[in-house]
């Protein structure tokens, strides 16, 4: 009974957090892209456009749901649901923190731990290809078909270097369970260097991390590898014929895949929820607090400036400043620290990787299709293979 209740509560919390972060990831992406391009970004709905995701959801829900006459109806309807179901399932095996005690109940900050967790994620990403390929094919439209073809070729090609890049740190960590992966990277060598697999001997996995990131961009169809939806060639690629909520489902699955990939990268290479500094140092405990304090300081500084923005900024800046201040104080409460600090570090690392995704989108132009394929098979694949062999050799010799 207790187990079911705890699982139910955890599922509800994770689902709510995931949905919110999906919506706001898009807001953050639009804001960051806008600032990279010297624009304002969403600004009208709510303070600083903060309610824009809500407005988008309402807009998408109330739009007319068209089903074109020439589509293969069953597959056309199946594709977006398949995509979003596969993408949302993946979050079930991602841990957010270690074993914690909340109100006397001991539980893991994770929905479920599989002893094949990494393989489970690979299997789901393999199934995710079908959503895009089938959407492209069933739309019965040449642009959609080209998008679907490109995506299936691209995702098969980049799955190989991705799998090799994932396999190399697994040789060091010696397990496939994501919880055990994160736990085995705790501790520090030489007193300061964290035991993350990008720093871990005998062969630090920096190269594998780079390959993983590039392949993750391609697997999630993000710029510079978003050939399946290249706007200037293919209208909108595989989702040209989709409207309303079905279109939104494709977006949801894309962002959800991004979050999963970043969380996987955090666990495999960046030590999961383990802090980057040894616990002996006083700074570690106060870093989250300091970050929120500085955020509050920036917000209060802007609140004290003469009103440059819109007139209710006079109220929103202090309110958000107070919220940041409250967060800073919450992170100082000792009984909450063992729960909040691991979550903070996990979210911080995953968030940094997500920011990298957005940053790259704002910086790099799109590849040409032959360049994309040559890069996968001619560069990325040999590099990841050599890295895997080097890791295997060094692990066999020195570990």
């Amino acid at each position: 009974m207790n187990f079911y209740l705890v699982s139910l509560i955890k599922t509800a919390v994770v689902a709510a957090a995931l949905m919110t972060s999906l919506a706001y990831l898009q807001w953050i992406e639009r804001k960051v892209l806008a600032h990279i391009q010297l624009r304002m970004g969403p600004y009208r709905v709510g303070p600083h456009g903060l309610l824009q995701p809500l407005a988008d959801v309402i807009k998408l829900l109330t739009k007319e749901d068209l089903i074109p006459a020439h589509v293969n109806k069953a597959l056309y309807l199946l594709a977006p649901f398949l995509g979003v179901a596969v993408a949302l399932t993946a979050i079930a095996v991602i841990p957010f923190g270690p074993k914690v005690e909340i109100f006397g109940v001991e539980t893991y900050l994770q929905l479920t731990d599989l002893n094949i967790g990494v393989l489970f994620l690979l299997a789901l990403s393999g199934l995710g290809v079908y959503a895009i390929a089938l959407a492209g094919w069933s739309s019965n439209n040449k642009y959609s078909l080209l998008g679907g073809l490109r995506s299936s070729a691209q995702m098969i090609s980049y799955e190989l270097p991705l799998a090799f890049a994932i396999a190399s740190p697994l040789l060091l960590l010696n397990t496939l369970s994501l919880r055990a992966i994160a736990e085995s990277q705790s501790g520090f060598s030489y007193g300061f260097l964290p035991n993350w697999s990008i720093f871990q001997g005998p062969f630090p996995q920096l190269l594998a991390f780079a390959v993983f990131l590039v392949a993750a961009f391609a697997e999630t169809n993000r710029l510079p590898f978003d050939l399946p939806e290249a706007e200037n060639e293919l209208v909108a690629g595989f989702h040209t014929e989709y409207s309303s909520m079905k279109f939104a489902l494709f977006f949801m699955s894309e962002y959800c895949n991004m979050i999963t990939m970043c969380a996987l990268g955090t666990h495999l290479f960046l030590g999961g929820w383990n802090p980057p500094l040894p616990p002996g140092w006083l700074v570690v405990k106060s870093i989250p607090c300091l970050i929120f304090l500085s955020a509050a300081a920036v917000l209060f500084f802007h609140a004290s400036q003469a009103a440059r923005g819109r007139k209710w900024d006079r109220y929103t800046y202090p309110v958000f400043g107070l919220a940041a201040l409250a967060l800073a104080i919450i992170f100082l409460i000792p009984p909450l620290q063992p729960v909040l600090h691991p979550i903070f570090w996990f979210v911080a690392k995953t968030g940094l990787l997500l920011f990298l995704f957005i940053w790259v989108r704002g910086t790099l132009p799109r590849f040409r299709y032959d360049q994309l394929m040559r890069f996968a098979w001619g560069r990325l694949f040999p590099v990841s293979l050599v890295n895997l062999f080097a890791t295997a050799l060094l692990v066999a010799l020195f570990k």
């Binding site: 393989l119 990403s125 199934l127 390929a133 089938l134 679907g148 073809l149 995702m155």
Partner: protein, 166 residues
């Protein structure tokens, strides 16, 4: 619980297999095959073979079938026209099928008497570690021979494809 899940996914597997044969469009058939493979993976999982289940989905559903679908999409194969079907085929075929299945079941049962019934949850050596240990110690030779065989097949495919191009 295990038995109910087994029945559900076994029924899905058989249903998808029948649908695979009955569909006229190659894409629909390919998707039925994916359904068969995914439900087989669930059956492996129920029997305690986690690694095999994951490999089944990654390799068969995730890689091979994507290639199948890719080729079908590239060739833009349409639905097969229904040619004049003979009424004799189902009349003779269905009883023949049942008879064949009964014969197979009978001989399998005869050749392996006394083996205990499969029970869910008994087998615990299906994780990645036991499978890997078995592959690289006890079954090392068959494993390596299979790899060499696959390599030869790949080389053969490359040679044949190159001849086509000239």
């Amino acid at each position: 619980m295990d038995a109910i899940l087994f029945l559900i996914f076994a029924a899905i597997a058989v249903g998808c297999a029948i649908n695979l044969v009955r569909q006229t469009h190659p894409i629909a058939s390919a998707i039925s095959l994916i359904g068969v493979m995914c439900s087989l993976a669930v059956l492996y999982l129920l029997l305690g073979a986690e690694f095999i289940a994951a490999a089944q989905v990654i390799v068969y559903a995730g890689a091979i079938m994507v290639l199948f679908i890719f080729v079908i999409m590239l060739l833009n194969a349409g639905a097969e026209p229904a040619r004049g079907k003979s009424w004799v085929a189902p009349l003779l075929g269905l009883p023949a099928l049942v008879a064949l299945a009964a014969l197979l079941a009978y001989f399998l049962f005869r050749s392996m008497p006394g083996s205990p019934a499969v029970r869910f949850g008994d087998f615990t050596l299906g994780g990645p570690r036991p499978v890997g240990e078995a592959l690289f110690t006890k079954y090392l030779l068959p494993f390596e021979v299979t790899s060499a065989l696959i390599l030869i097949a790949i080389l053969g495919a490359v040679v044949l494809a190159r001849k086509e191009l000239d």
